[in-house]
Amino acid sequence: MLEVKDLHSGYGRIDVLKGIGLEVHAGEVVALIGSNGAGKTTLLRALSGVQPVSGGEIRFLGQRIDKLAPHKRVGLGITQSPEGRQIFGPLSVADNLRLGAYLRKDDGIEADRERVYAMFPILKDKRDQQASGLSGGQQQMLAIGRALMGQPKLLLLDEPSLGLSPILVDQILDAVVAMRSSGITILLVEQNAAAALEIADRGYVIETGRIVHAGPAAELLTDPKVKAAYLGLD
């Protein structure tokens, strides 16, 4: 579904991605793990088109998309719940979700909003409130819900568990599993590597802009090097 080949990107003269290659197949949950500054967020932003790339290719459903504008990629079915939530603070919860479906013209928008409310009931209770008044966990749910409103084929989740309590992390990860079973392919970026690999099919480990390990999630979970570096185990 998604093929990335030799992708380069950077900020000014500093290269952040130094030839990333990865694949995501339809129906998978793929985890991308790595430490702070490894290039995880830069990669997701490059996939969405909000971070310029200096080389390499991105193909989605067989089509080159690395030159497409961000809104064209959303139209093709790639949406993202960005790092740090990035909700629309002055707008209501309901409007945030409506804007997630900004490009859609079909009449299933209302039903999809109800589906998001069913997944995160707290959002329904607060639907008329300003999004800036939500707690961190609720904002995270809103960011994920907003990305779902775009009817993604491929959902990019950037650090959905960052700064959340363990109970909320479980709730978010359960939601990811539920999304996968409803047919959405997911590329999940996480610093919480153990949690991410537990729900993922496959995983990639990224270090200073390069993929250094790849494999089935269960194998990465038991790989001694990965364990030592990212899982905090010996």
């Binding site: 088109g49 961000p70 949406t79 960005p82 909700i87 629309f88 409007d95 409506r98």
Partner: protein, 290 residues
């Protein structure tokens, strides 16, 4: 008493025009993060195009419509030719670009039109209305009513339509707006077009009272900017309040102190806002969540 009422009405009338100019500033600042000092030229274009089209025999309503269209086209060209290519430039560079554009527009207007002052007939006659000893020109009611209509329309668009919400969303978080599929360039072009229309309407409404010429834009831009600052830059409600307040200050200042210093009041307001309340009357300090 009648004197007070007189100053109040003339203050509100001119204040409504400042409010519209401030609203234009706010809209562009909100959506595109640009302080557009060519805002006053839209007001000039509104008045001048209407005057010349009307003089050429076009009926007044059509002449006014034509003026709004011309201003919108100029606003879009300003965005596409001057602002869009400079994406990523610093705020100061963008301000200098808009000042340059405003000088260009003024120069072009001087050539296309002329250097004379021009007047339009009042929309519904010159017979003054007497109210509690004060004299109201019917055109004042047109200005106030027209401004109110513009404000309500803008409010409706921003609060109730998807494209309006996209503008608010772009202002609130540009990255997230792009990620949900908002074409940010379209939103910015819309903001420039919209602010040009608002400015042109202000120019058309006020010309029967204050006259117009190729260079009325400069002072109006500065006063509208003062009003926008007074209300808290980027806050539409604040822009309206700031505009009306500035109009009243000028009117009462001219009436009770000295009309010599009428134009100085706007600049005193800018300085006072910068020293005392940089966030404006209505605006809040920006709180960054970390």
């Amino acid at each position: 008493m009648s004197e007070l009422l007189q100053f109040l009405i003339s203050g509100l009338t001119v204040g409504a025009v400042y409010a519209l100019v401030a609203l234009g500033f706010t809209l562009v600042y909100h959506a595109a993060d640009v302080v557009n000092f060519a805002q006053g030229e839209f007001v000039m274009l509104g008045g001048m195009v209407t005057v010349f089209a009307y003089a050429a025999g076009v009926p007044l309503p059509l002449a006014a419509l034509l003026a709004v269209i011309v201003a919108v086209v100029v606003g879009l060209l300003l965005y596409w030719l001057a602002i869009a290519p400079a994406r990523g430039a610093s705020a100061v560079s963008l301000i200098i670009i808009t000042i340059g554009a405003s000088i260009l527009l003024r120069g072009a207007a001087q050539i296309v039109f002329d250097k004379q002052f021009h007047k339009l007939p009042a929309f519904s006659g010159d017979a003054p209305i007497h109210l509690f000893g004060a004299v109201i020109q019917p055109q004042s009611l047109w200005v106030l009513g027209g401004a109110a209509l513009v404000v309500l329309t803008l409010y409706y668009v921003m609060e109730r339509t998807l494209i309006g919400k996209a503008v608010v969303a772009t202002a609130a978080n540009r990255l997230a707006a792009r990620l949900v599929g908002v074409n940010v360039a379209t939103v910015m072009a819309l903001a420039f077009g919209g602010s040009a229309a608002i400015g042109a309407i202000a120019g058309i409404l006020i010309t029967p009272i204050t006259l117009t010429s190729y260079d009325v834009g400069t002072l109006l831009a500065l006063k509208g900017f003062a009003a926008a600052m007074l209300g808290g830059m980027g806050n539409p409600l604040g822009a309206v309040i700031g505009g009306l307040f500035l109009g009243l200050l000028e009117s009462f200042g001219a009436g009770y102190v000295s009309s010599t210093y009428k134009d100085a009041i706007a600049f005193i307001v800018i300085l006072a806002v910068l020293f005392v309340a940089p966030q404006g009357l209505v605006g809040r300090r920006k709180v960054e969540r970390v």
